[in-house]
């Protein structure tokens, strides 16, 4: 109720609030009565909820703009974007992208250079409020290239745990994976929660994503720095062996768990921890109407071990196809959507994980969405998926072998050796 009340207030504030702030010299959209129709393709589910909210504000405040947004499921969106961009179709002005897709699209020159476009439009981009890694990832090549994607939704892994259970057992905030394992033992012995921990174990992207923070914390990595060969080694074996230790404390069938299986158990109070938590999973965890653990979850950075915490980045970006006929209008929308005012509004009303540091420090936002402070902090230390156009294949191979280890059909050392063999083959174009 509180959030809903503030949401309505924020909505009215937004309507009367005039023009957006945060981008120092961003000009207001053209005052001339010229009509603009922007065609956008993006994600469904909570992304659709957020983007539709932004579009609603944008078109109310800029009546000469119309935004046609088509929501699609993850794979359908990826297919649609690839086919649209590959054909050089002019019908789409905005594409909503998961960050691992950027190297693929950037490599082919399918996306517009947003800095050059801003310059042409007389807009000075102020990127200082965004964690550096988000801007680095939006560039192609990574860090050094043109800015081809603009951050919109700051998805990043955080670590969620049951504060009440930890307090009862006298456990402190888990800082390392060893702390997590030790907590698992004590929680299991106490019987306070059905299972101490869960994680996504289904083959491919889910288990690869869930396992990577552990791998990085143990000092391992999947690809070499030049992205040309597999870099999985004994540290990866150790990390896999550690994952098997955690599996002992997970519900049966964890090797087939996907997002709903982990999220529902976390918010349903059936597990005390998850090796990874995404903001979308716990955005309403304090709402007793949908959560059995309102106020009971605490959030912290993904644990480290030998290395510092390395949460995985899963940020969503807006990009403008190189063939778009409406680039300036599309840019105006992107800047509006990523403005501090809109990010704050959407964080409060819709549970958007913001991409701006200032929003993460905003007391009003953090008061209503407790996880935002950690989420924005995690963005700063986050690790992006290796920036290679071949990542989806590498991830699929890697995730397939991690799943085999979880299923007990391969030993960690054999899985690492075989994964490396296949990854090297894939990188060589095989």
């Amino acid at each position: 109720m509180k959030i809903a009340g503030v949401g309505v207030g924020a909505f009215l504030l937004g309507l009367g609030g005039g023009y957006y702030a945060g981008l120092a010299s961003a000009p207001k959209p053209p005052a001339a009565p010229k009509q603009y129709t922007i065609t956008a393709i993006g994600r469904d589910a909570e992304h659709n909820d957020i983007n539709s909210g932004v579009i609603d504000f944008f078109t109310r405040e800029n009546p000469n703009y119309k935004v046609e947004y088509t929501p699609l499921a993850y794979n359908a969106l990826y297919d649609k974007i690839v086919l649209t961009l590959q054909q050089g179709a002019t019908a789409v002005d905005l594409v909503y992208m998961d960050d691992p897709w950027i190297p693929q699209f950037g490599e082919k020159g399918w996306l517009t250079d947003l800095e050059a476009l801003s310059k042409e439009a007389g807009i000075t981009l102020d990127l200082g409020d965004f964690p550096k890694v988000l801007i680095d990832v939006g560039r192609h090549p990574y860090r050094t290239g043109k800015l081809v994607a603009f951050p919109q939704m700051g998805n990043v892994q955080i670590f969620a745990y049951r504060k009440d259970v930890f307090d009862k057992l006298g456990l402190g905030e888990p800082k390392t994976w060893t702390d997590v394992l030790s907590a698992c033992e004590k929680i299991k012995a106490s019987g306070l929660v059905e299972y101490p921990i869960a994680f996504r174990g289904v083959k491919g992207n889910p288990v690869a994503t869930a396992f990577q923070p552990l791998l990085y914390a143990f000092g391992g990595k999947i690809l070499s720095d030049d992205l040309k060969s597999c870099a999985l080694d004994s540290k990866a074996v150790e990390a896999l062996e550690f994952l098997l230790q955690l599996k002992k404390y997970a519900p049966p069938g964890v090797e087939n768990f996907n997002t709903p299986d982990v999220r529902d158990r976390l918010v349903g109070g059936k597990i005390a921890m998850s090796t990874e938590t995404w903001p979308g999973w716990i955005k309403d965890a304090d709402n007793p109407a949908v959560s059995k653990v309102p106020g009971l979850l605490a959030y912290t950075l993904t644990p480290g071990e030998r290395e510092r915490p390395s949460p995985l980045l899963g940020v969503w970006y807006w990009g403008i196809p190189a063939a778009s006929q409406n680039k300036e209008a599309a840019l105006n929308y992107i800047l509006y959507s990523a403005s501090a005012r809109m990010q704050k509004l959407m964080a409060i009303v819709k549970g958007l994980p913001p991409v701006r540091a200032s929003v993460g420090a905003d007391k009003e936002v953090v008061g209503l969405r407790r996880w935002v402070a950690i989420q924005v902090q995690s963005l700063a230390s986050a690790v992006p998926r290796p920036r290679t156009p071949l990542w989806s294949k590498v991830e699929d191979i890697f995730g397939g072998y991690v799943n085999q280890v979880l299923a007990g059909t391969l030993k960690p050392a054999d899985a690492v050796a075989k994964a490396c063999e296949d990854i090297n083959k894939a990188l060589a174009g095989g």
């Binding site: 049966p252 069938g253 799943n403």
Partner: protein, 283 residues
């Protein structure tokens, strides 16, 4: 009607079939002879290289093996159950008309609904199936998460959904067998099993062939249930050719390799279809 007129009347349909079926098949074959990646832009003639790579690809071999096992077992089970139910329902007993819609019900649900429903029912902890097993004093089973049980579980789910269609075809076939033949057999003193073996089965031969053909083709294309229930896991235990093609073509964008895999799949389906059509239907 002159042959010329008949030809011109069927020409539009013929052109449509050529455009929608023959042209794509040639297209897929053409791409399968190339290294073609939509993301890297590579497009070079490679002959049978993609086929060779596939035959050396462990995951592809596993997916072919799983697909064949699934197809054979699911088709056999569905045909057997469909026939059995049809024979029972074909007997006269009270409430027969009420049972018919209930039998057909599973086939009315979409695959997404069926998969979600069964995923809940087969949940190791909270699922109905394990609950019943526990009540009966058995150990709960990891249906979708065990390497040895995942594929059989999907066979059970597919059988639950598709047996009604087999039943309908057999039931229609049984209804078309003249009653007089059974009456003559009864007068001659033929026992029920002999009547079934000597009359029912031979009379249903073409129906059985049709069911086997349709279910073999359909089960060979298994994708949606696996995608929704297991993602091909655990440990590749439910990886199928369709899933392999989907990932290779639409996630990795290796169009050449995906086309080669599609062509192999098409070849197997055509071979199976030819056997059925030649051995049973055309005789």
């Amino acid at each position: 009607m002159s042959k010329k007129l008949a030809f011109f009347l069927t020409l539009p349909s013929l052109l449509l079939i050529i455009f929608l079926t023959v042209y794509p098949i040639f297209g897929v074959f053409y791409f399968s002879l190339h290294k073609y990646n939509l993301i890297s832009g590579e497009f070079t003639f490679s002959g049978i290289e993609e086929y060779k790579e596939l035959l050396n690809d462990y995951l592809f071999k596993v997916s072919v093996q799983n697909t064949i096992v699934f197809s054979v077992l699911a088709t056999f089970l569905q045909t057997l159950l469909g026939l059995g139910i049809a024979v029972i329902v074909n007997q006269k007993f009270p409430g027969r008309r009420l049972i018919l819609p209930l039998i057909v019900l599973p086939n009315m649900f979409s695959v997404v609904v069926v998969s979600s429903m069964w995923k809940l029912m087969l949940d190791p902890e909270t699922g109905l199936v394990n609950h019943v097993l526990r009540l009966m004093g058995f150990q709960p089973l990891p249906w979708l998460t065990s390497v040895s049980l995942a594929l059989p579980s999907i066979i059970i789910i597919d059988t639950w959904q598709w047996t009604p269609i087999c039943f309908l075809i057999f039931y229609a076939g049984l209804q078309s067998i003249p009653r007089e033949i059974y009456e003559a057999a009864l007068i001659d003193g033929a026992p029920p099993l002999t009547t079934f073996r000597r009359i029912t089965l031979p009379m249903l031969k073409s129906h059985i062939a049709l069911v086997l053909l349709l279910r073999s083709i359909d089960t060979f294309r298994l994708f949606d249930k696996v995608y929704l229930l297991t993602g091909g896991g655990p440990a590749n235990a439910t990886e199928t050719i369709s899933l392999y093609i989907f990932k290779t073509g639409l996630i990795f964008w290796e169009i050449g390799k995906a086309s080669a895999a599609s062509f192999i799949m098409l070849g197997i389906i055509i071979a199976v279809s030819i056997v059925y059509v030649r051995e049973v239907i055309l005789r």
